[in-house]
Amino acid sequence: MRAREATARRYARAVYELARESGDADSVGRELVQVTDVVTRQTAVSDVLSRPWIKPDDRRAIAAAIAQKAGARKLVQDFLGLVAERGRADHLSEIVAAYQALEDAERGQARAQVRSAVALTDAEKRDLSARLERALGKRILMEERVDPTLLGGFVAQVGSLILDGSLDGQLARLRQRLARG
């Protein structure tokens, strides 16, 4: 897993440097997310790009065509083609995450993945974001999603930091206390 992440970081750093040189790091990041979403959602596409018996040149051409069809710029097309040619299409999610981490580090920002039982109101989002920024000293980009399995409250994850403000977490802690006696 560590090797996989290290590989993804190498690819992400390479494309990030090129994007930054051209001054389009932000747009390239968005397009990478978009293309990766297309590839990972359609299993047939990800299968084709991962098959070792399909010629590398063919994989490259297919990946570049997909990126072109998704409206990505030449840099993203070439990058996706390279990743597919090298048989690393299954690393795309990690590459995107590593790219975002580089982008966030460059800009002094962090991404907060927030799972909540019910959708947060705008005011709650702002309040949470402001408090997280104060606590971590970074600008927070919030990625929120509703998780119906949660009983109430929310769970926010920023990097390796997890803030459990859910009823589930409280009940889990209560369960542990009861079990310990």
């Binding site: 039982a117 997280l132 109430g152 403000g165 369960r175 009861l178």
Partner: protein
Amino acid sequence: MIRVLALALLLLGATPAAVLASEGGGGLINLDKSLIIQAINFALLLFILVKLLYKPLLTKMEERTQAIRKSLDEAQAARAEAQHEREEHAARLQAAHAEAQAIRAAALKEAGEEQRKLVEAARGEAARLVESARAELAQDVRRARQDLRQEVSELAITVAERLIRKSLHDDDHRRIVADAIARVDKVN
């Protein structure tokens, strides 16, 4: 030998007396040439007797005496040897008896020691078994308590979850979220 010669001389001395007696008034022996011949005959006879009978007889007697003495000596030696063997046997018997006593005493001591060790080992084993059973029992009790506590907590939390899920309204969600957001400040 000396006694024979003395006897011969006595006979020779008696002979002239006998001759004189016959000359005096009709004795047994006459003092003439026949006396000399008789004396020579007697001497010859005596010589032959001594040579042929007396000496072998003496030799035989001596041999017998020597044989008897030898037998006596041998008997004496045999008796002494028997006595020696008897004493030796008695000493050996006594030594064997003493050795047997020592072996018996050692065996008794060893058996006693072995018995003591066995008893001690049995006591130790019994104590270990009791301790092990006690520890196992305590472990079982602890485990049973833990299981019971686990089950009770699981049950309580499950019931609480159901009740909470049923009774939670939007206001409650907002309040829970607000409380959780407020706790973010305590992260540092």
